[in-house]
């Protein structure tokens, strides 16, 4: 037939399905709205804490005299500048009052042989160590001058340099935030896109267009198109949000965090993609079991549980439980990247976790594809998972 020529540039059907999925979504108001909302949320999370902590400026440290001021200045220089600021007070009593009122982070008072650092309920460990170093430096220099040595002579052969085999983790609070943040990004993206996948499947069933689709292309191609299209969308959404938070971090001078996050970012992407694809297969099945939008509430319940339980587990569980979770498929997508940020995780652990996740993803997707093929064209009524498993092919 004369058509043959026009049919020579066949595109793989799943690509077409994926393309349609993407082009429909990016014009969908709900999708644009939710992306914008997440963008604002993440930017707020990045910028607002910086504004709050930045508004206080450097930590105030109460001192009684010039020597105290000098120590604080030295400590400030040691910590990289803009960290501490000396506040002159008249006496120890006033210093105590400032500290207990929270107007000063700490006070540096003369002590028996050097100084005393005064804190309210505790002294920030950073302040303490920087002050200690400053006090030692200044004191030694003065002692050296008295003994007729120059500061350089004094310091000869006393340098201790630091070299870490496993570079240290983030400060604890930041680490917790990043940890929860990474798990949350996966949780929200997987849930949001999961529901969208299930909806888009059930819409095709509801509108009966699925009959034409199934006649034109293999059902597996439909499934793959949906899964791949939505994975691409989800990753792009994350890239957009990551770019926005990057700009936010740079603008608010928090770019240091990136140094810690950057090495984990690649791992995060791998865990994300594998976990997302496995779940996407399940969400598509949730859609194909339903016959109407209203059925989705019950058919997506298992998917929601599979996400929610590991999410709370990986965020709130203790360290050892978290270690276990970081090997369990799906849970590992939320737990492992965070663990790698906050602890020194040996390389074999994420590799093993990825292998387990990969195996699980292959299994889940294959099972999903089978269920999808068997249930997609059943438009009579909502099916249960057990029922679907019992349906014979054909």
């Amino acid at each position: 037939m004369s058509n043959e020529q026009s049919r020579t540039t066949l595109q793989r059907p799943w690509q077409l399905v994926a393309q349609r999925e993407v082009s429909t979504k990016i014009r969908d108001k709900t999708f644009i709205g939710s992306t914008a909302f997440m963008l604002i949320l993440v930017l707020a999370a990045v910028i607002i804490p910086a504004l709050i902590s930045g508004s206080g400026g450097p930590d105030k440290i109460a001192v009684l005299n010039d020597a105290g001021v000098q120590v604080v200045q030295q400590a400030d220089a040691i910590s990289g500048g803009d960290s501490y600021e000396a506040t002159r007070v008249a006496d120890a009593a006033e210093a105590e009052r400032l500290v207990s009122d929270g107007d000063a982070k700490a006070a540096l008072l003369p002590g028996d042989s050097g100084y005393v650092v005064l804190g309210d309920d505790r002294v920030d460990s950073g302040i303490q160590s920087n002050l200690r170093e400053a006090v030692v430096n200044l004191g030694m220099e003065q002692n050296a001058a008295r003994a007729g040595l120059t500061p350089d002579q004094l310091r000869a052969n006393t340098q201790l340099q630091e070299r870490l085999l496993n570079p240290g983790p983030l400060p604890e609070v930041v680490a917790d935030f990043v940890n929860i943040g990474l798990a949350l990004v996966f949780y929200m993206t997987a849930l949001g896109f999961g529901m969208m996948i299930a909806q888009s499947v059930v819409q095709e069933k509801e509108s009966r267009v699925v009959e034409i689709l199934a006649a034109a292309v293999p059902i597996r191609a439909l499934l793959w198109g949906k899964v791949i299209g939505n994975t691409v969308l989800a990753l792009s959404q994350i890239v957009v949000i990551a770019a926005a938070s990057l700009i936010g971090l740079i603008l608010t001078d928090q770019a240091d965090i990136l140094k810690v996050i950057a090495p984990v970012a690649g791992w995060f992407v791998v865990f994300f993609v594998l976990g997302f694809v496995a779940l996407a297969g399940l969400w598509a099945v949730a859609g194909s079991l339903a016959t109407r939008q209203e059925d989705l509430g019950s058919t997506t319940l298992p998917g929601q549980m599979i996400l929610m339980i590991p999410f709370f587990f990986s965020v709130f569980a203790g360290a050892s439980a978290k270690s276990v979770a970081s090997f369990i498929p799906i849970a590992s997508s939320m737990a492992m990247p965070g663990r790698m940020l906050t602890e020194d995780v040996p390389l074999w652990q994420p590799l093993v976790a990825i292998l387990i996740l990969l195996a699980a993803t292959v299994l889940i997707v294959r099972l999903g594809a089978r269920l999808y093929e068997r249930t997609l064209l059943q438009t009579g009524r909502r099916l249960g998972y057990r029922e679907a498993l019992a349906i014979k092919a054909g």
Partner: protein, 293 residues
């Protein structure tokens, strides 16, 4: 040529199709009729690979139908459906490409068909904003956009007014080239009689009649009708014919063997003027009723 050979399909204990075989010849429209639940939709879904057969197979030019070939088929399912929230043009281009057209060709074909359907101005509209009749036209367009090598349509004209049916039929006649076999099911028997060249009658999962409409309408034994200017009672005395009814000058009789009709005609002429003589055409609805009884 599209053929189904020995198609059997069970749903649990229910035998929906029982050894169904027939051919859909290129260039001829084949009507597919049968009562509700006779198995028409099941047969069509099996042809399109949307449903599996318990036994038997679908053949294309003699060999088993492959997915690659089936991708070039056009299908209009019983339960209509397109993407309700997608623009008409985008939708048709998508289906064209899904069936293997390249983007440029798919666009070309879409514009041509939309033009023919008088929907060019609505090309950018969302499907669900169209009237149901127009949605039905788009549905047919979706089955035709990729220049199908075979066309299977389940009740394509149901729900259309007579004018819409006519314009749809015109579209089919223009779009369907002589090498394309067309199978369509319908309840509207006079429509089938008007449009179809061949007919397949299905009853409770079995083919009870199949063949050219003209032959089926002529009945299993040829029935003739004769009107004379005198009494036709003499017919009863002629051997080899079975008189069904004589009412004065008008007679209805069956001829058992070919050629006898000419003998009767000669006799009639020798007895007086013959006003009418010819095979009695049976209405398709009678054929249908007879076949599915």
């Amino acid at each position: 040529m599209l053929s189904v050979a020995g198609l059997t399909r069970r749903f649990g204990d229910h035998l929906a199709l029982d050894d169904v075989s027939f051919d859909v010849v290129p260039g001829r429209m084949t009507g597919f009729v049968g009562a509700n639940g006779a198995g028409k939709t099941t047969t069509m879904r099996i042809i399109l690979g949307v449903l599996g057969a318990t036994a038997g197979e679908v053949r294309w030019n003699g060999s088993p139908l492959t997915h690659q070939v089936r991708r070039d088929f056009g299908y209009m399912p019983e339960e209509r459906g397109l993407y309700p929230k997608m623009k008409i043009r985008d939708q048709l281009v998508f289906f064209g490409r899904l069936h293997g057209l390249d983007p440029a060709r798919a666009g070309e074909r879409t514009d041509k068909i939309l033009g023919r359907l008088g929907l060019t101005e609505r090309a950018g509209d969302i499907l669900e904003t169209l009237s149901l009749g127009n949605q039905q036209r788009v549905q047919i367009a979706a089955a035709l956009v990729h220049e199908p090598i075979a066309l299977v349509m389940d009740e394509p004209f149901s729900g259309l007014d007579p004018l819409a049916v006519d314009s749809m039929v015109d579209l089919l006649r223009e779009e369907v080239t002589p090498e394309v076999p067309v199978l369509f099911s319908s309840h509207q028997l006079e429509l089938v009689e008007r449009l179809c060249d061949d007919l397949v009658v299905l009853s409770r999962g079995k083919v009870v009649a199949a063949g050219p409409v003209a032959e089926l309408a002529a009945g299993p034994t040829a029935t003739y009708r004769m009107v004379m200017d005198g009494d036709a009672g003499w017919l009863r005395d002629i051997e080899g014919i079975k008189v069904r009814d004589v009412d004065g000058a008008t007679a209805l009789f069956d001829v058992a063997e070919a050629g006898l009709d000419q003998l009767v005609l000669q006799q009639a002429i020798s007895r007086g003027s013959v006003l009418e003589f010819g095979p009695e055409r049976v209405a398709l609805s009678d054929v249908f009723r007879e076949a599915t009884r």
